[in-house]
């Protein structure tokens, strides 16, 4: 600020009380977030793909199971804008409904991993001692099992319904959440406001739920966003192998199973669902990384 400006400020100060610029947390978040163009594009794409998938029954020209044996492997036509698969089913409709299934599995599995991981991490971090030791060894054990084999084992034993797939992906991916929450709790639990709550006689549960865990929410959001990407990849891999979502219910993964037999005649069948998986996973990853930059105060100013 040069001399002239500060003088101008001085005269204006007689009329106005200068207040520091205050932005609501949400406005502050948006200020930081919008500087990352990739993140904004990713968020827009995700909102679009979720809305479109949600509205699949109203947008799709056909039901995903409708078979038209007179028109198998159509390239594209006025009836089938993205063509048909080997059974004459409309690829566009199946992509919409498949997206619905894939996204639901991704989101629900992450919800479960948070529901399981958060209390475990909080208990380990806050109680410390043997509870911490036991929980962290269990976490280590789950990290050491190649998850994909565990998934196969559980689906083999319990069957591969939609519910089981969601449960199994959720129950094999809570470890990251548990570790992150534990770390945050360890960091926060000796802060003065926590000590104050303790002195005032708050119970351990109340302290953790009301004072400590809210501090961990940004980290949980970041982990969850990245987790959705991982869950969608896992579901699509399982469904591709024929061990996940069972046809005729479409998912982006199981649409690719059949496509591998038509790579010679109709490689485009392999392209559409794959591109959607990649874009969605890419968008979730980009969004997660951007949120980490915005929400993690330690990284600010870098």
């Amino acid at each position: 600020m040069n001399v002239a400006e500060s003088q101008a400020e001085g005269t204006r100060a007689n009329l106005l009380v200068r207040v520091p610029v205050y932005r609501s947390p949400l406005a502050d978040f948006w200020m930081r977030f919008k500087t990352n163009r990739f993140a904004v594009v990713s968020a827009a794409f995700l909102i679009f793909i979720h809305i479109v998938s949600l509205l699949a029954p109203w947008i799709a020209p056909y039901t995903p199971e409708r078979i038209d044996l007179n028109n198998p492997l159509v390239r594209f036509s006025s009836d089938y804008i993205l063509g048909t698969d080997e059974n004459g089913r409309d690829v566009f409709s199946r992509l919409l409904f498949g997206g619905r299934v894939s996204l639901i599995v991704g989101l629900a599995a992450v919800a479960i991993s948070i529901i399981v991981g958060t209390p475990l991490g909080a208990i380990a971090g806050y109680a410390a001692g043997w509870a911490d030791a036991v929980i962290m060894r269990i976490t280590d054990a789950f990290l050491a099992i190649p998850t994909f084999f565990l998934l196969l084992t559980i689906l083999t034993l319990f069957g591969n319904s939609l519910t089981n797939i969601v449960l199994v992906i959720g129950l094999t991916s809570w470890m990251a959440v548990a570790r992150i929450v534990r770390g945050e709790v360890l960091k926060t639990k000796n802060e003065e406001f926590v000590t104050a709550a303790r002195v005032m006689g708050a119970s351990a549960t109340r302290i953790v739920v009301r004072h400590v865990l809210p501090q961990a929410i940004p980290s949980i959001i970041v982990s969850a966003t990245l987790g959705v990407a991982f869950a969608i990849l896992t579901e699509s891999s399982l469904s591709f192998l024929g061990l996940g979502i069972q046809p005729p219910l479409p998912s982006w993964g199981n649409m690719l199973t059949a496509s591998q037999y038509y790579v010679w005649s109709a490689p485009r069948l392999a392209v559409y669902p794959g591109v959607l998986i990649v874009l969605t996973v890419l968008a979730y990853n980009t969004l997660g990384n951007a949120l980490r930059d915005v929400l993690d105060p330690r990284l600010r100013g870098r």
């Binding site: 060894r137 269990i138 280590d140 054990a141 789950f142 990290l143 050491a144 099992i145 190649p146 998850t147 994909f148 084999f149 565990l150 196969l152 084992t153 559980i154 689906l155 083999t156 034993l157 319990f158 069957g159 990407a229 990849l233 699509s236 891999s237 591709f240 192998l241 024929g242 061990l243 993964g253 690719l256 496509s259 591998q260 790579v263 010679w264 490689p267 392999a270 794959g274 998986i277 990649v278 996973v281 890419l282 990853n285 980009t286």
Partner: protein
């Protein structure tokens, strides 16, 4: 140092113990339980006799101990479909998986680490951006889809490389084997390669920001000497740990890769077994692979303590 190794060893045993409990609990909790094994045409009396013979009427802890002591000796029971000991099936398939996973890991290391170094050295340059973009894609592309694309390009369109198997029947020469290995190796390496590039980049960036690097720069050392002699040694230490953590994912990727390319390894065995609900096989594989992962993690920890002198000072 001795105490450190013992402590790590103790942890590994506990982790393996927990895995065995989880696996056993899964068998017990499954609808039908181990009774699944039995022929549905049996009378209830025969069934009871068989249950007695199999020890299914023992108290659960006794069953667990029997199961574990068999598993420790490499006895995971028999395959339901193939009627052969699970351990035989696994040992047959291990070499193919080691070949593939080893090639994948090697590819990831020899390309991922240099790419990460280049990106870190020229941070924010066009090269850096390009490498980060490729890494981002590598993490988002599902392995099976990458495999299909490679097959479309290299087998269908160009006809350069075979799309399935470990060798041509009746051939099996070194060149033939390598040709069969190329596409599966690219697929299994993709994720680890991207991860390793990212990780090397961020680890090196961290180190290049350190005070002693600034000191080296003010002494007038060339960028090359700073990078190779000063930064590399510290920057690569976390990368070694990362290698250990990558192994479960790499082996998990074998299921997909081996299935798409018809590669006769453990991953394909697991996928087939899952498909046929041949659960003794799949559980045996899960435990054997977990044990391999735990041992490799232990070795990574040991390597880490050898490279990084600071570890020995700590507990």
């Amino acid at each position: 140092m001795g105490a450190y190794i013992l402590r790590r060893l103790f942890h590994s045993v506990i982790v393996l113990f927990i895995i065995s409990i989880v696996t056993f609990a899964l068998i017990k909790a499954a609808p039908g339980g181990p009774g699944l094994l039995m022929d549905p045409t049996l009378t209830p009396q025969d069934r009871e006799k068989m249950a007695e013979g199999l020890g299914l009427n023992d108290p659960v802890p006794v069953q667990y101990i029997k199961w574990v002591s068999n598993a420790v000796q490499g006895d995971f029971g028999r395959s339901i479909m193939q009627k052969r000991p699970v351990m035989d099936l696994i040992t047959e398939r291990i070499p193919a998986t080691i070949e593939l996973a080893g090639a994948g890991l090697a590819l990831a290391v020899v390309t991922g680490i240099p790419l990460g170094l280049i990106a870190a050295r020229r941070a924010n340059s066009i090269w850096d951006r390009l490498i980060v973009l490729l890494g981002t894609l590598g993490i988002a592309i599902p392995g099976f889809w990458f495999a299909i694309l490679l097959i479309i390009l290299f087998s269908v369109q160009l006809g350069w490389l075979p799309s399935a198997g470990r060798m041509t029947i009746g051939d099996g020469s070194a060149i033939d084997r390598i040709q069969h290995l190329i596409l599966p190796t690219l697929v299994i390496a993709l994720y680890s390669l991207a991860q390793l590039t990212y990780f090397t980049r961020s680890s090196m960036l961290e180190v290049l920001r350190a005070d002693y690097i600034r000191t080296a720069r003010t002494k007038g050392l060339t960028e090359r000497v700073i990078l190779v002699r000063h930064a590399l040694r510290n920057g690569l230490i976390p990368v070694v740990t990362m290698l250990g953590l990558m192994i479960p994912r790499l082996v998990g990727g074998a299921v997909i890769t081996e299935t798409v390319f018809g590669w006769p390894g453990m991953g394909r065995l697991a996928a087939d077994a899952a498909f046929q609900r041949d659960y003794p096989v799949i559980m045996g594989i899960t435990i054997v692979i977990s044990a391999i992962v735990i041992v490799s993690n232990l070795l990574t920890d040991l390597a880490y303590s050898l490279i990084d002198p600071r570890i020995q000072l700590g507990r």
